[in-house]
Each structure stands twice: as structure tokens, then as C-alpha cells.
């Protein structure tokens, strides 16, 4: 591969960068709020809810994301085809699924679902650690001042949790940038898949280096962004 080839490959990858970014941002958008909900469910005083949440977290963290992507992606076609075999597709839930499966965004939606549920489990554990690290004195002082439970959480606890979870969250986000490449397993066209195709076309591993550089630069941006966020919260210790 000469310099021109590298330029060409870079251009192609750049063209597919938005697909990587789309998956990245949508996953963040859903997994962070979902992670908060999971934290809340895990801390639920009604034990069965807390146990079920624990099982969910165990599965999400205990099995490969790649496996989860494949399972989520193929689950719906499987359900539909088994329904078809049983001859019960008309006017049912399965018919809706059958239509949904033909949606042009079907693959992307399934990816976002798989990624979001997986990352939510990790974020949930980070948030829980953050909440549990707040000294009990903060709750006691709030209660003595007459703050309600909601006020205590949103005005006193949460702002402090945010500061504490930034470092761990930044780690997860950096991993997510790289994990988007797992979407190649179901042939979602993003930069990793394109790089592999170019690798075959050129019979060279050169395109892989270009892809590597893309991820590296993205993570440099993520790192700087988190440094700025950390700095923003530096006004208190």
C-alpha cells in the first residue's frame, strides 16, 4: 500500500465513521439513564426486584457482548419463524414483529438495544458505588434540615455522586468507543467492517492501522472531554 492507498482507505473509513458515532452516541443516550434505573431497581427494598436486577447484571457482565448482540439480533426472526411454523402469525404480536424486522433501521435498533442493556449494567454498578460512597452524615444533615427524600437525592446526593463517578464512567465510555467494532459480527457497516473489507481488497493489514488510528483519535477526544468535565467539578474536593 502506498500513500495514496492510505488516503483512499482513510476517506472510505471517514465516510463510515458516522455509523460508528451513531452507535456510540445512541448507546450513551440510552444506557446512562437506563443504568440509573437499574441502580434504583437494585436498591429496591422489595427483595425480588433487587434479586432480578442482580441476575440481569450478572448475565450482562458475565457473558460476551458479542454473544448478546447476536442473540438480540436473531431473537426476533426466531420468534417470528417459530410462530409461523405454529401457524399463528395473522393479526398477532408476531405479525408486528415480522413487520418491524423488515424496517430499514432494524439492525441499528437491535444493536442499540443490545449495547444499551449491556452498558447499563456496568453504569448501574458505577452509579451504585457512587451513591454508596456518600457519607451517611449527608443524609442525616439533610433530614435535620427538613429536606424531603426527593430533595435530598436530587439536590444533595446526586450532584456529589456525579463528581465521584466521572473517572469510572470515562473508563466505560472509552471501552464503548472500541466496543462499537463488535457490531461487525452482524455485518453492521461501520469503520471496522469497512477496514476488514479494505484489508481483503489490498491484501494488506494497512487498513487496520488506519482504523486503529480512528479509534485512537476518538478516544483522545473522549479523554479530553472527560478531563474538562472533571475540571468543571474541581471547585470542591
Amino acid at each position: 500500500m502506498n500513500f495514496d492507498d492510505y488516503l483512499k482507505v482513510s476517506k472510505i473509513l471517514l465516510e463510515y465513521l458516522p455509523y460508528t458515532l451513531k452507535l456510540f452516541f445512541f448507546t450513551l443516550l440510552f444506557s446512562i439513564p437506563l443504568g440509573m434505573v437499574v441502580t434504583w431497581l437494585k436498591k429496591c427494598r422489595f427483595k425480588p426486584v433487587s434479586w432480578l436486577t442482580n441476575i440481569y447484571i450478572l448475565i450482562m457482565r458475565g457473558t460476551p457482548l458479542m454473544l448478546q448482540i447476536v442473540a438480540v439480533y436473531f431473537a426476533i426472526p426466531m420468534m417470528v419463524s417459530s410462530a409461523k411454523k405454529a401457524g399463528s402469525i395473522e393479526g398477532t404480536f408476531y405479525e408486528t414483529l415480522d413487520k418491524f424486522k423488515a424496517n430499514e433501521n432494524y439492525m441499528f435498533i437491535m444493536l442499540v438495544i443490545a449495547f444499551s442493556f449491556n452498558y447499563a449494567a456496568y453504569f448501574a454498578e458505577i452509579f451504585r458505588g457512587g451513591i454508596e460512597s456518600i457519607p451517611v452524615g449527608q443524609y442525616e444533615a439533610s433530614s435535620m434540615l427538613g429536606l424531603t427524600k426527593m430533595q435530598t437525592f436530587f439536590r444533595i446526593i446526586l450532584p456529589q455522586v456525579v463528581k465521584r463517578v466521572i473517572p469510572a464512567t470515562s473508563n466505560e465510555v472509552i471501552v464503548l468507543v472500541k466496543d462499537t467494532s463488535l457490531a461487525t459480527i452482524i455485518s453492521y457497516t461501520e469503520i471496522m467492517l469497512k477496514a476488514k473489507q479494505q484489508m481483503n481488497a489490498y491484501s494488506s493489514i494497512g487498513p487496520l492501522f488506519v482504523a486503529g488510528l480512528f479509534y485512537f483519535v476518538l478516544n483522545a477526544v473522549v479523554t479530553v472531554a472527560f478531563m474538562l468535565i472533571e475540571k468543571h467539578y474541581d471547585y470542591y474536593k
Binding site: 433530614s143 435535620m144 463528581k163
Partner: protein, 252 residues
């Protein structure tokens, strides 16, 4: 009128009985010191009265409102609304301050007046400025707790408690997390409040201070009130062997 009435209060942690049949009153304008060896139940007593801990049995009345009473052998707490009302009438100053670290001094003080009492912010700020002046902290409005000395933090936490204009203020060893040279400034502030006839209950290991500032002293040991009375009596010529023994440790 008694601001606080405690009758036959008992509390256990598992097998450990920490409070045994505690009864005492605090009258308006009184400054009560609670002294006693470590583990005698002083903090637990304060925490039960402040609803941070649930008592097992007994009766507690605050400002004429019933907080806890007995129904046969069952301890019954007042409804949520009353408990909240009571909580707003009392303030507690913690040993380790428990300021909100993400808020500056002004925000710490106006948090409850604005968001609990729903006071207009300008009014709350005006009150806070006055309180800070009284605490000798003028000009520290914008400082964050981590930028203040322990003594200054404790004075902010006193101002924060006073901002709700409580009828009675509780202190749990307000000086024991401080360097000895910083305890003086807190004791001075408390003396100032005593001079204004603020009703206060102070758990302390500062015997000199307890003797000087309070007009009633409670000596606790092993979960009991062993003796209580005027400071002249307790510190002067107590006839109680246990009290004598405890105080002798401070007479060196």
C-alpha cells in the same frame, strides 16, 4: 413551658441496651450539658430525640407536640407530618459538621430556608448574611467547605442550623473533631447564643465549658442518667460516687 420532655426513654441495639429509662426536661432558655464517659449513650439519646434513631419505648414531646408515646407496651410515633413539623423546630450540630461540600457557605445556609420553608431567596440571603456576621464569618459567603478550617466549618454548620430559627438546638460534641486551639471559637459562639437565651442541649467532654455555660448538667453512665442538677452542684460537691470518679479524671 418545657421545650423538650423525655419520659422513660429506652433504646437497644440488638442485645446492647444503650438507653435505660431516661427522663428529663429542657425548659425554654435553658442550656443543658450532657456529660459522661464514652459509650454511655449520649449520642444515641440525642439521635433518638432528633429522629435519626428509633427509640424502643418511652415518650417524647417537643414544643408541646407529641413525637412518641406508648400505647400499652407499643411505642407509637406521631404521623409523618407531625414528625416533620417537629424536625423543623429543632436543629442539630454534628461533631463532623456534615456540610454539603458541593455548595458554598451561602448555599449551605439558605438551602433549607429556600427549599423547605419556601422563603424568598433575597430574604434568606439577608438572614444568612446576618448569621454569618454573628458567627464571625463575614466575607466567607462564597467559600466552599473544603476551603475553611474545621472551626470555620463548624460555625457554618451552626449558622445553617440557626437559619431555620429552631426552638432548640442540639450539639453532639461540637468541638471534638477540632484542633484544641480551634475549640475556643466554637465555645465562644455557643456562649453568645446562651446569652441570647437560645435553648440548647450540648453533649460535651469540655467540663470547664459545661460548667461555665450551662444552667443544668446531666451526667450519664451505662445508659442511665446517674445524676442531674445545677452545674454548681454537680461540679461543686456532688455526693454521688460515680460522678466524683468520672469528674476526678478531668481535674488534673
Amino acid at each position: 413551658m418545657a421545650v423538650l420532655e423525655v419520659k422513660n426513654l429506652s433504646k437497644s441495639f440488638g442485645d446492647l441496651q444503650v438507653l435505660r429509662d431516661i427522663s428529663f426536661n429542657v425548659e425554654e432558655g435553658q442550656v443543658v450539658s450532657v456529660i459522661g464517659p464514652s459509650g454511655s449513650g449520649k449520642s444515641t439519646l440525642l439521635r433518638c430525640v432528633n429522629q435519626l434513631e428509633r427509640a424502643d419505648s418511652g415518650e417524647i414531646n417537643v414544643c408541646g407536640m407529641n413525637m412518641l408515646h406508648m400505647n400499652g407496651s407499643k411505642a407509637v410515633y406521631a404521623p409523618h407530618k407531625t414528625l416533620r413539623e417537629i424536625r423543623l423546630r429543632i436543629g442539630l450540630v454534628f461533631q463532623n459538621f456534615n456540610l454539603f461540600p458541593h455548595m458554598n457557605v451561602m448555599q449551605n445556609i439558605i438551602e433549607a430556608p429556600v427549599h423547605v420553608l419556601k422563603k424568598p431567596k433575597a430574604e434568606a440571603v439577608q438572614d444568612a448574611v446576618e448569621l454569618l456576621e454573628k458567627m464571625g464569618l463575614s466575607g466567607k459567603e462564597k467559600a466552599y467547605p473544603c476551603e475553611l478550617s474545621g472551626g470555620q466549618q463548624q460555625r457554618v454548620s451552626i449558622a445553617r442550623a440557626l437559619a431555620l430559627r429552631p426552638d432548640v438546638l442540639f450539639f453532639d460534641e461540637p468541638t471534638s473533631a477540632l484542633d484544641p486551639e480551634l475549640t475556643g471559637e466554637i465555645l465562644k459562639v455557643i456562649k453568645g447564643l446562651a446569652a441570647e437565651k437560645m435553648t440548647m442541649v450540648i453533649v460535651t467532654h469540655e467540663m470547664e465549658f459545661a460548667r461555665e455555660v450551662s444552667n443544668h448538667v446531666i451526667f450519664m453512665d451505662g445508659g442511665y442518667i446517674v445524676e442531674e442538677g445545677a452545674p454548681e452542684l454537680l461540679f461543686g460537691d456532688t455526693q454521688n460516687e460515680r460522678t466524683k470518679q468520672f469528674l476526678s479524671r478531668y481535674r488534673k
